[in-house]
Amino acid sequence: MKIAVCVKQVVSREWHLRVADSKTWIRDQDASYELNEPDAYALEEGLRLKEKHGGEVIVVSAGPARVSQVIREALARGADRAIHVEVEGLVDADAFVTAEALAAALSDERCDLVLTGLQSDDSGFAQTGVLLAEKLGMPHGTIIMDVQVADGGLRVKRELEGGWFQWIAMPLPALLAIQSGINQLRYATLKGIMAAKKKDVKKIAAPSVAPRQQILNLYFPEKKKATQLISGSPAEAARELVRRLRDEARVIQ
């Protein structure tokens, strides 16, 4: 199977967030970056499918030169080659623009399967994968827990809310957005890291596309997360806790 996995490089969760002067993105000079964790699960699924069915895994990413860090990481984990849509901007791009860039990378590849994570840790749009499916003309499924390949088609297990699941069949080629946490992520072994240095990374230019949305203002919300201690008699405290769980936290009806 020819499997493409789309990954995104995002600012590390450790990075101390501050808003840039433009107020439309964060200050990310000299930030530390990492592979978007949901995409790591997509990569893991891709590598397992390759191990099971043979073929190759191509890792694809769009962004500035520093994106090569996550590409190397994916190659070190076992991807066979990579395509880097290199463009200086795209850091704060909306999903449409990103999806167009990824589609440009994959248009000539004729992949059987394209895998993405559900959403990115920075923007969190949860759109790019599905937009890409439409642009590539592929059927898709999201929040996929299990992938079975048979007879030129797929049978995938989709997670529904409230503990429900569903199996769906669809033909190949297809795109799947993989649920996080469905498998144990492999770490890049020493041998993989050494081998990654020799693997092929193709660079292509990004198409020019108008964005579909614009961030006018990025800011910190007022409330800070601090423990709220509830006092009073047991009955009073209990009632107050129930109220806050229902109205503030919204975790009970």
Partner: protein, 614 residues
Amino acid sequence: MIEILALWLLLLIFGGSFVAQVARRVRLVAAAPNNFSLDLLGFRIRRFVTDVVFQRKTIVERPFVGLAHAFVFWGFVAFAGFTATEFLKGLGIVDLTGTAWFHAYRLALAPFAVAALAGIVFLVIRRGIVRPVALGTHVSIESIVIGLFIAILMVTFLLDFRLEEGTPAARVNWWAHACVILAFLSLIPASKHLHLVLSPVTVFLKSPVLGTVPNLDFEKEEVGTEAIKDLKSKQVLDALTCVECGRCQVNCPAWESDKALNPKTLILQTKDALLAGSRDAKMVDVFDPGVLWQCTTCGACENQCPVGIEHLPLIIGARRGLVSNGEAPDYLGNVYNHMERRGNIWGLGYDQRQKFVESAGLEIFAAAKHEWLIWLGCAGAFEADFQKSLRSLFAILSAHGVRFGVLAKERCTGDVAKRTGNEYLFQELATQNIADLKAAGVTKILTSCPHCLKTIGDDYRRFGYEVQVVHSAVMVAELTRALRATDIESEVVTFHDPCYLGRYAGRTGEPRELLGRFGGELTEPARNRENPFCCGAGGGLLFEEKEKGTRISDVRFGQLRATGAGTIVTACPFCSIMLKGSQASAQSEIQVVDLMTFVNGRLQRMPGRTPGSP
């Protein structure tokens, strides 16, 4: 004349056999990549004198056995000249046996012979009849035979004093002695008695520092010990030197808690594979890889070994081979992800460390302003109980006018990565940490975590980074040395020596000094000081929740509880986590307290003192 020819013939046969066998083993060592070192020569020489010449290790740990063995050993050494002289006569080369010095020498040897005979009889009875656990389940017939040989040698030597020279009895006695020597000679290389030849060398070549595991050279594409042929020369020498005494086995916390890991077995399996010529045999076929992951790297095995074997590089080397191929256990995979992505072993958010730094009023280290950098470590950044002990440390330091700060950003030292064989992750973390430390102009580091102590103080040196690293127990002992504590309430406590502080760093006095100074009435547990029984957290095992057999931490907790003390004091965040876990599981009311918390609590309560003042 016939006798001379006969002796030559026998010498050629048996001596030749000896030489051939030894040569084969020397070739095995020579064929392995060389990692012999003679650094710290003065230390090595001193250690050679105390441990080999004076048999310090064997005697201290098992006094009677050690002394018996020492008699046999000294006997051997003393007899060397005698045996050589007699053989020179027997081979018709030169006869010095008539000289005055030889007579004197012979007389002087008599007490040695008596002592050696007594020693060997004791040891044979112990091995054959008493049968201690450390020596394994079945009696080694070969060892009994060798023991009898030695006894015969001593008896024939002593008998010679009573026999008239030249008589048939004396000749038979002489030949008996000579034949036993020759038989012995040919048996030495194939048995554990090769240690006679090898162990002085092995002890001399042993690293002066416990747990010396060099960096992998990625330029050379080194990945660790995957197969027998990857073993380094010292490791081959180690495997051939093993005397099968079992000291490593009976001191191993994994073995003591019913796990499959047995350090002695690992060494012997390595030896067997080497002698079988299986250069390409994978380490996972030589020993069960599952066993490798049961090691906490406490170092008891390596520390106890009287013949200079270094178990830790073997175990960690084999782990590296596994990790390089992606075969680390699942729970470690998670930890590696945490360390890589979040820079700490628990994968917790950086803002938690920030919160602690702010709430403790810590200053960011500035070389111009602060003398000491306090390395918080992962536990210092994220573990609430350890943070309490750190606050105690800060109070003590401030009260004594010590100027200290912390790094704005710390990432894990990489201890868990190093000990579990993920060398790439370790080197990544180490090089970044070293860059940060250098950039901040740090020259002195203080830490409360013995693992950070070992990693920064020793493992980082291999990157060329030398910095003074001190454990808080040592620092605070020094700071409070002038204190004359009066009217301090006394309390019965026991101290659990952390492996990485007591055994690795040799710091056993300072914690006891502090406890004594501040009212702690010490009772000692079964294993303590430089030979503590591990808490079970090291080597990545903090994260293994499905431990086989009894939990190591529960065994240790039982030992500490048996002292009858109401409080267990320790000086390591890992020990603290493990022992508290055991305490909770045992539903026990014993307090588990960090040394700094104990000391500061007492300092605060000293009459006539205002809190926080010296």
